[in-house]
Symmetry: C2
Subunit: 301 residues, 2 copies
Amino acid sequence: MRDLKAWAEIVNRRLVEIPAVIPKGRYAIGEMPWLLSQSMRYSLSAGGKRLRPSMLLAAVELLGGDVEYALDYACAVEMIHTYSLIHDDLPGMDNDTLRRGRPTNHVVFGEGQAILAGDGLLNCAFETMLAAAVKKPERALDALLAIREIATGAGVTGMIAGQVMDLYCERNQSQDIRALEYIQRNKTACMFIYPLRAAARLCCADEKSLDALTRYGSAFGLLFQATDDLLDVTGDQENMGKTLGKDTESGKLTCVSAYGIEGTRALVKKLHSEAIEALNIFGEKAAFFAGLVNDMVNREK
Amino acid sequence: MRDLKAWAEIVNRRLVEIPAVIPKGRYAIGEMPWLLSQSMRYSLSAGGKRLRPSMLLAAVELLGGDVEYALDYACAVEMIHTYSLIHDDLPGMDNDTLRRGRPTNHVVFGEGQAILAGDGLLNCAFETMLAAAVKKPERALDALLAIREIATGAGVTGMIAGQVMDLYCERNQSQDIRALEYIQRNKTACMFIYPLRAAARLCCADEKSLDALTRYGSAFGLLFQATDDLLDVTGDQENMGKTLGKDTESGKLTCVSAYGIEGTRALVKKLHSEAIEALNIFGEKAAFFAGLVNDMVNREK
């Protein structure tokens, strides 16, 4: 069984191979400008943990599906995650200058180009999935269903909805706990839930598996955010590779501001149990996913 | 035969009906924040000519396809066009405050929300097409091919590539004519070419029709841009609903700066002939498309 690092390596190898992110000529029609490729790759290669695509691939393996076929979908998920970070860091949004230990995209390429790099990654995610999908015409419907799951997770009732509410609450110094729950589910959990659902679609999994992965993804995503909020207060800046303490300083609505440190630790425990419980139907085969939530409880970055 | 206004009305009616752009509750899980819907609709309803979606629908009719089924694809094309305008107008890009006669999105909703409204429209375009596609499982492959055409036109070797080159040339005061051709083909023409190709895919059209529509879309798009460049110099600001003379003032690379006013008029004539010639194989049935290029030559807005 592969661990997170092994899955991440598979994702990284494929990410640099995807034709759409390799430019060939400067003005050649049908080819990408060097600057666009550079700015997209800069953030794609900034060395994240590749959690979301790894989980998609591990779910495909868990369900007995074709990992090779799913690889481009996994890369698309990472592109979407990366675009959301680039846009989130922009001066008009969070105005962050450090991400994964490196200057943010707009610091290096300028604000306009960073907006376009983000747009490019979002669009390229769909281009990548569609290119993979048309190669297996006999599985066109599964592909449509899988791409749709990812579009939903990333979309206007998913991640983007969460971003909008997050920005609104920050601008208005809201401490509304219902808004917090909405933000954490949509902004963070959706991009775990829906890639897992996409894996189920690619494998033509039954409703029970789809439901179990949905519940696991939700608990995992919320757990990820809760531990992230804890680390912003208790973590080590060098380990995390980003500016810490910013949330508290800016009066941002987080698990810690809403429930306190002890309350957040209790929430972490509860979400951990929910995640483990959701895995029951898979038995031993789900060890990778059980390991992930166990590690999450003890994470330092 | 419907004219542009009649097609645009059909598009406008459907655009306000699309479930994904109608929010239902404030914090309801799986629903869109009111603010996101507002900001997306603000720009969607700013009253453009709906050229791109109308051309897609007219092409479906020309090819004997199902206009009703194609309608959501047409709306998706308009969403993509609208997102590109929102992002293009941002302070980090063109910094425009007036568009279609109204304050631009970021002037009304703030920069952060305008970025997210654009992201939302791009993602929602795919959500909308995918939702339409899964309703006709027996046509899943045609749907994949059609969505892929639109993704390609909007993407990192299409519209976004053109935007990147445009921004680069503006920042560097480039007057390179090869760059101009690259920008006008990618930034403008691609979002005419590929929606027409998507129409052909939805209708399972033969290669000859696909090729003719591609050539027409290319000539039309370049014609549209050339006349737009001319109008920036010779047009009437009230008619156009946007700030004119800006391109010349900022030393921007345009057809007029590259070829002069007379040279651009000659180009317009040449592109008009190419567009008409591409329509030959369709005969009388292509009257709508012939009318479009005839009108384009005499356009005032």
